[in-house]
Symmetry: C4
Subunit: 268 residues, 4 copies
């Protein structure tokens, strides 16, 4: 590694910006700042939808948008400048049209957009993808891998459970449609309408906006509730244990990873 | 196995239609098509019950019924023709009066039936049995075996849990009937009526259409809810672990099954 | 064992009536009949509380009461006559005033009581104790032992969970009382009233008859719901695993018990 | 240890009051009495908030406050007198200004305060800290350690689950805000308002005060409920198993602790 490159501002900035170059655990200070700005931006976007909070504080929301937009713009320019430090990036031109760079550009434009209606919120939530990217080598990424690993390792069991849950949903919806459809056409007048009741019952949410009123309907609903509680518990239990297994594997890997990286550095 | 039979169209069709002849994992292309048609037919039957979707699209539903009916008819005739390829079928006459063949005939008639009221929906859901049959050697069958195996292996525990849940249901229904019956005769005026509240509470669905209003009633309901959450969790946990055990056994068997079949074929 | 005694009617009846003399698994035919009569009696007592079923069928209910009362009376007299066959019973006089004999007498009187109001139902449910007694050596008794064993073996963990659940209940009730008390005095006007909401929330029953309406109240309620779901799950999980452990121990004992008894008989 | 000191009243009182001096398991008789008084005081504070109970019984509540206040005052004075028996206390002056002594003084003042409004209840609940302190070496302290240990040992898993639950909460709130916001501005008019619905759904509490009414909204709500039930189950399962592990470790330690202490005494 030549000394001139190491001492250069660009390299140091690249180490700060690019999580792939930085093998340390966690976020770099600069990325932590950007993550914080994204988080605050999301919170502000949430608060902005509430008229009772937004009214009278419009200038604060405008000001923060300008500030966050400027930070994102600076970060975007910094990335464009430093991207060539990463050996896996072919040229600045290639990087500028990569998915991640375009996502960053979109983030800048989102932050600067004055109009913050429904579309703006959707885009802001897409900013969450950027946090995940910044934290690539951090803990969050391991968590994502665990979830994916957990779902994949028990994919078969989950599929079967899902099929049974689906059949149960269909059966109970049809049953209640047949039994209660004539008495409450608004709530159980079709299988689709009954399905809304069936989901609320099988997940035990039970909003109580629709419920059977006839004796036979209540008997069927009771059977559905009891069966549903048992059936729904199965994928839940499988997912919980799979997630636990995947996490313990990931933790082990995580604990041994720094040592492996250290040894590799010593070898260099 | 004579070459003439193997090359015949009938044998090839039989391999496509009869899951018992086809030892491969999953569905044959023809059975996959029939399954898809059944699935779409069920979805259409569900949508048909919703007047806001059905009104104005009657001709589409009529057309799809005719189309699906024709496919089922062709499949039924194909099965009648090829059934003698399966050594376990004595004669075409025997097959025609078997439960499965009659179910297929019913399916054809269901699909062709112009009137698609409540009865039609029930029959369509019976079509699901055909999917299970088509997938006999596929994954769904293993899943069914697992559920049956899980329930059988812990039948004793589940029975005991069910008894306790039943006693709890009876006790809490009686308690609330005694305490709240005079204040809310419509909701708690008999043990049967209280049972509707008790099921909604013990499964934690909690529709909220009926609930105690007196202090004593609320105290009893609170006790019921807490006890119920603990008691209901027991069969749920047992079923989840039993299902997990049965699945891991089934997976092991599934993994070794193709090798056993291969060895048998080599021996032939 | 003298032959005269073995051949006597009294001894054979005693073997039928007294579960302690009968070392076989399950109920004797006579006890099975009595259990069935008790079960049907309880079902009829439940149906009797529902006016829409009782009205017009009074004579059927009256007739079944007379019939069941006669069966219970015959059984009671039979027990009085045969009780001296059991070596652990000192004299017929002692037996007549034992708790179990008095319970039987009460059952006879309950069955004959013409007036079947609330008190009658309570007494009928007490008849369940008789079923448990009849099944003394049967499966139900093992289930009862398992529940008791499960609760005892994890009594410490359950106590601690209960304390935490209690503290959480108290804390959330107080919180909502302070936050929502002024806005909804009817629902949250005292800690006791808030507790009704807190139990419905912590057990996730959520009737929806009372709920916070202010922003701060909803924030606290949300925190309560999330914390509650986690805390309530702990005793539930403990109880489920303890019950599973106790059952597997009981099953093992149950499987080896007949062999031990057989060996003892051979020794005699 | 001089005999004069051992025989003194002060030393015996110190053994009764200070849980650190008393190495026996559980509470001393005096501390048990004080704990009971605190418990009754809290129950009375709860009942006092309910006007239908308080009205007409004001004098009983006043009297019990005076009585409990006197007991706390005596206990406080006793502690001040005996504190020097504990070697870890430097001087009576130091003790008087320690956190625990000030908490005791606050408890005395709380008990004597005539006005028992909202503030009084909050202070009374702070009295619970005193019970924990009195039971320092008792079972409750082990339970607290277990909870802390359980949360710490699985802190990583719980954090990840919390992040996913949070993302799910945010995503479903935004979804329903976009879909239902225009139809029900009161219930889904902002992401914050939707979050109230989302928490009630994800925890399966389902109050039923707000729920989607459009077809698309119900579809999204159904998806949220099903996903939520699976995701929320993960931290619940982790916490339950972690608590179980921590408890079994604590039980082992608890069983061996008295033996270790005994050996130490024999050595003295």
């Amino acid at each position: 590694m030549p000394a001139s490159q190491e001492s250069s501002l660009r390299h140091r900035l690249a180490l700060q910006l690019d999580p792939m170059l930085n093998r340390q655990d966690g976020l770099t200070p600069l990325n932590a700042l950007v993550s914080a700005v994204i988080m605050i931006g999301i919170v502000m976007a949430i608060l902005q939808t509430e008229q009772t909070i937004y009214s009278g504080n419009e200038h604060w929301f405008r000001f923060s948008e300008l500030l966050f937009g400027s930070i994102f713009l600076l970060e975007y320019l910094g990335r464009l400048w430093t991207c060539v430090e990463n050996d896996s990036v072919k040229s600045r031109w290639h990087y500028a049209f990569s998915f991640m760079a375009l996502a960053d550009l979109a983030a800048v434009m989102v932050a600067f957009s004055v109009y913050m209606g429904n579309g703006g919120i959707l885009l802001r939530i897409l900013l969450l993808i950027r946090i995940i990217r910044l934290a690539r080598l951090g803990r969050f990424s391991i968590a994502l891998d665990c979830i994916i690993e957990a779902v994949r390792s028990r994919g078969y069991e989950l599929l079967i459970s899902a099929i049974f849950a689906g059949v149960l949903l269909l059966a109970s919806s049809t049953l209640l449609y047949l039994v209660e459809g004539h008495h409450q056409p608004e709530a159980f007048g079709s299988i689709l309408r009954s399905a809304w009741w069936a989901i609320a019952t099988l997940t035990t949410v039970g909003y109580g906006d629709v419920y059977p009123i006839t004796g036979l309907g209540r008997f069927c609903a009771g059977l559905t509730a009891i069966t549903g509680v048992c059936i729904i518990a199965v994928p839940t239990g499988i997912l919980a244990s799979a997630f636990g297994d995947a996490l313990s594997v990931a933790k082990e890997r995580h604990r041994t990873l720094p040592k492996i990286l250290e040894r590799e550095r010593e070898r260099d």
